[in-house]
């Protein structure tokens, strides 16, 4: 295993496949990003450490980490980084890459939410909030779903009263006007992105 440690291979892989991944090598390990992250205490590896792990060739640990999924895009790290690394973007890029490879942690909530959100959105061209929240409630099984729903019932009823929630959306979701066009746009975008990442072949 030591043969692959501190080699270019994983760093190269990140550079080629991760959005803004070519910045990883520029980190000087000052740690200002790690200290600036409001969610810092809640993840295993802060950005600077993640970057070092990439350089150390710890592929599985990095891509299997939940760390980059925790980024809330506050950009504190980006504005403070003395090397001007676009850290937020790298985090999202890493998450995306791990997801594409199927290496991201299965039950990572951000990942699950992001996937649901995307599926939900890309279907009709607009977000169906009712379906999205119910999907979230029930992601861990029926029993847990009921519990989650009951816990949130006051808010739900309040929204119903204020006409911010239409139960009919569950059976007959309304789509945006040009759903077809949206699908075409998304398909094109995916094609471009895949080509850029060298995945089209």
């Amino acid at each position: 295993m030591s043969g692959e440690r501190y080699r270019n291979s994983f760093l190269r892989e990140v550079e080629h496949n991760v959005e803004e991944g070519h910045w990883v090598k520029m980190c000087m390990q000052c740690g200002v990003c790690s200290g600036s992250c409001p969610f810092g205490p809640h993840w295993a590896h802060p950005p600077q450490e993640l970057f070092m792990m990439i350089r150390a060739g710890k592929r599985e640990e990095v891509l299997g980490s939940d760390a980059m999924w925790m980024c809330t895009s506050c950009y504190n790290c980006v504005v403070r980084c003395p090397r001007k690394l676009p850290i937020t973007h790298i985090m999202h890029g890493l998450a995306n890459y791990a997801h594409r490879l199927g290496l991201a942690p299965k039950n990572q909530p951000t990942r699950q939410f992001a996937k649901m959100f995307w599926d939900n959105l890309s279907k009709t061209g607009r977000v169906n909030e009712l379906k999205l929240s119910l999907g979230l409630y029930f992601k861990d099984g029926f029993k847990q779903g009921i519990r989650n729903a009951l816990a949130m019932k006051d808010i739900g009823l309040g929204m119903l009263k204020a006409k911010r929630l239409n139960p009919l959306e569950l059976v007959k979701p309304h789509a945006c006007k040009g759903a077809k066009d949206i699908h075409a746009i998304l398909a094109k975008a995916k094609e471009i992105e895949d080509r850029r990442k060298g995945l089209s072949a």
Binding site: G3, Y6, N8, K25, M28, M53
Partner: protein, 738 residues
């Protein structure tokens, strides 16, 4: 020589006229001081006052001037009379500003002022106008020892300023380390890529310069003389000895790379695939010559992965390797990693460091390496071992906090610079370490064959503000022999050293002192017939200025002398002095003080204060109107090292109740501008106790203090505490016997 005519000028300005009777001062100057001419003036430093003095010098043929006004450190532009002997009585800072304004203090304040006028007159009468070293030597050629970047630069820069230069290089070719490099670290924007060394051009400029003579394969057999008149025997390539007459010397003898063979734990010697930075340069040059990639020594395979181990045998805490950081090695490893990356970005290059040290724009070079894909890892290397197909580097990754091992085709150890300083003259002659050392300058000096070293073998200056001040006048260290450094710094350093060498020959030619008493025209005058050949002066001179002749009499080399007076302080028979600073000029001041009798309850304390630090501190205390005892009488001295114990015994014999000496900090971080002066004074005063006992006096009657220039509040307190102490032990029983 014109007849002596003395004149005293007493200023009444800055409140002197209000708080003191200048009439009384004038009378003292006239009657006791025997001044031929005495004048009072309300504003002596004003145009009219200065004009008055100038007129007297011209029309009245005044040759000796006493200014009784402010401190000798003040109003120096106004009181500038270069053609006469000058003394200053410090009435303003020394009396007015350090004594209370209250009416009841007026009596003691006047007594103090009276004494300072008496002392000033006494000093003036013993003083002569210094005329400069009569043996001034005028050879202005400059010898540069060492033909690497530092030496070549020093030679070229001195020659470009119009001076003749002799360059001596022990190898058969010029260029030193630089000639062995593939490329150098860049020294100007954009600090992105290794640069050409430029060494060929530099060599060509030197060898083609009409004012530079080069000796290759040459060493110094003997260096004799002094600034302005060095005579150097050079053994040249043919084996013959030639004599070069020069005025000053730049020693640019460079460094040797620390022996990586002492680092078996890092794999050196166990496999040819562990090299030092010089080894990597060699490989890079071979590759460049062959037009291909860098290949590893063991099997000639192209290097696919390389690890740089920083601080190899450096920053060592265990005491077995170099304790210091060589400064350049981080940038050098960055450069060498680029050799690989620039040729083939696929090569793995890892730099393992603990602190990456690339100051200034080196940061850009660091960034450039990262951009090229060099990996930097903060870690501590435990071992490097040969492994199948390469080397295994085991280290602790300090960021990831784990022990790891990685494999590499080649490992480069960043070892440090060891200065080529010649002989450590401070080692005992029978020290085996000394026997192994080969002298470089071969100085025919009483105190040893090479320059004194400062620390870790480097020939650096101890002074932060004065980096070129070595302890051998007219000989300047430049480049890595002085301090570990890179090429860019060596060029800067060598250019500065060339200036100092030029300055040394100009000073020598004019008979002036070099730093720190630059421009001083006084020089030690010896009454050799009184000398007892005790050798103290030759041993104690901090600058090795004094040799011994065949009959063991001291030989003073004035242009090597810094005019500190340590020899004068050392001389037990008091045969050494300067025209304007001698056993007599100070002794006469000590004796001039009016000594109250033992029933007066008015002690007298003599304070000999170093003029570089303690005296300015006293001045500044006065500027802040810090009051101190009126019983003290201050005499500035050039250095505490110049204090002759006769002054102490004379003072005590003539009824002083105590003597204070204030000098600079000594020891490891000494601040004495003459290196050893305060230390020697401390040593000498340590031995004065016996004398005190013989005289039946308490040992407290002589006290030595280390005082910094910033000890402004402390100097006043020290004086008061000491006077209180004296009052406690009682006045001296010696009063009235003088």
């Amino acid at each position: 020589m014109a007849e002596t005519k003395t004149a005293a000028y007493i200023c009444q300005g800055c409140g002197i006229g209000e708080r003191l009777s200048t009439r009384q001062l004038a009378q003292i100057a006239q009657k006791e001081g025997k001044m031929a001419l005495v004048r009072e003036h309300p504003f002596l430093c004003g145009a009219e006052g200065v004009g008055l003095i100038r007129d007297d010098i011209e029309r009245e043929a005044v040759t000796h001037v006493l200014i009784a006004a402010c401190s000798r450190r003040a109003k120096t532009e106004a009181f500038h009379f270069p053609t006469v002997a000058l003394a200053r009585a410090n009435l303003r800072e020394g009396v007015l500003w350090s004594q209370p304004e209250a009416d009841e203090a007026a009596g003691l304040t006047q007594e103090m002022a009276n004494d300072y006028v008496r002392m000033g007159c006494a000093e003036l009468k013993k003083t002569k106008l210094p005329l400069g070293n009569p043996l001034a030597a005028t050879n202005r050629r400059i010898l540069v020892v060492g033909g690497g970047v530092s030496g070549l630069t020093a030679a070229l820069e001195a020659a470009r300023a119009g001076y003749q230069v002799v360059l001596v290089e022990k190898e058969r070719a010029l260029g030193g380390w630089a000639a062995k490099l593939h490329k150098r670290v860049p020294f100007r924007e954009p600090h992105a890529d290794p640069a050409d060394t430029g060494i060929e051009q530099l060599i060509a400029q030197v060898t083609g310069h009409p004012r530079i003579r080069v000796h290759l394969g040459a060493t110094l057999l003997e260096t004799r003389g002094a600034p302005g008149r060095f005579s150097v025997q050079v053994s040249v390539e043919s084996g013959a000895a030639v004599t070069e007459e020069v005025g000053s010397i730049v020693q640019a003898t460079g460094f040797t790379l620390y022996d990586a063979g002492k680092l078996p734990a890092l794999g050196y010697g166990k496999t040819p695939d562990v090299v030092d930075q010089a080894g990597l340069e060699r490989l890079a040059r071979q590759a460049a010559a062959a037009g291909g990639a860098i290949r590893r020594p063991s099997d000639g395979a192209e290097v696919g992965s390389v690890v740089f181990v920083q601080c190899a045998g450096q920053r060592d805490e265990g005491g077995s390797h170099l304790p210091y950081c060589s400064g350049h090695c981080c940038a050098t490893s960055i450069k060498q990693a680029m050799y690989f990356k620039d040729a083939n970005p696929e090569v793995d290059t890892v730099v393992i460091y603990t602190d990456l040290r690339v100051p200034g724009s080196g940061e850009d070079f660091y960034r450039s390496a990262q951009r090229k894909g060099v990996t930097f890892t903060k870690g501590r290397v435990a071992s490097v071992e040969p492994a199948s197909g390469g080397c295994k580097v085991s280290f602790r990754d300090l960021i990831l906090d784990e022990d790891v091992a990685l494999e590499a085709d080649l490992v480069v150890l960043a070892t440090g610079q060891v200065p080529n300083s010649g002989v450590n003259i401070e080692l005992a002659d029978d020290d085996p370490a000394k026997a192994a050392q080969v002298p470089i300058l071969n100085l025919a000096y009483r105190q040893g064959k090479d320059m004194p070293q400062l620390k870790h073998g480097f020939t650096d200056s101890h002074f932060i503000c004065f980096p070129y001040e070595t302890r051998r006048t007219g000989i300047y260290a430049a480049g890595p022999v002085r301090r570990p450094m890179d090429m860019a710094q060596a060029v800067e350093d060598a250019t500065g050293a060339a200036l100092k060498a030029i300055q040394a020959v100009e000073n020598a030619a004019a008979g002036r002192a070099a730093h720190p008493r630059s421009g001083d025209l006084s020089y030690p005058i010896v009454r050799i017939e009184g000398c007892t050949q005790c050798k103290r002066c030759t041993v104690e001179c901090p600058f090795g200025a004094i040799d011994e002749d065949e009959s063991r009499f001291p030989v003073f080399n004035e242009s090597r002398c810094r005019r500190c007076g340590t020899c004068m302080g050392a001389c037990p028979v008091r045969v050494i002095g300067f025209e304007n600073y001698s056993v007599d000029t100070v002794g006469a001041q000590i004796k001039a003080v009016d000594m109250p009798d033992e029933f007066s309850e008015k002690p007298r304390v003599l304070l000999l204060a170093c003029e570089n630090d303690a005296y300015p501190a006293l001045d500044m205390a006065a500027l802040q109107r810090r009051v101190y005892s009126a019983f003290v009488r201050v005499i500035p001295v050039r250095c505490l090292g110049s204090v002759n114990t006769i002054w102490i015994t004379d003072a005590l014999n003539s009824g002083y109740d105590g003597v204070m000496l204030m000098g600079c900090k000594h020891g490891e971080d000494y601040q004495c501008h003459f290196v050893k002066g305060s230390e020697l004074a401390n040593y000498r005063m340590g031995k004065i106790d016996d004398t005190l006992k013989q005289l039946g006096l308490e040992t407290e009657r002589v006290a030595t203090y280390e005082v910094a220039i910033t000890d402004v509040a402390r100097v006043a307190r020290l004086i008061d505490d000491y006077v209180a102490k004296i009052l406690e032990i009682g006045l001296s029983p010696m009063k009235g016997f003088a």
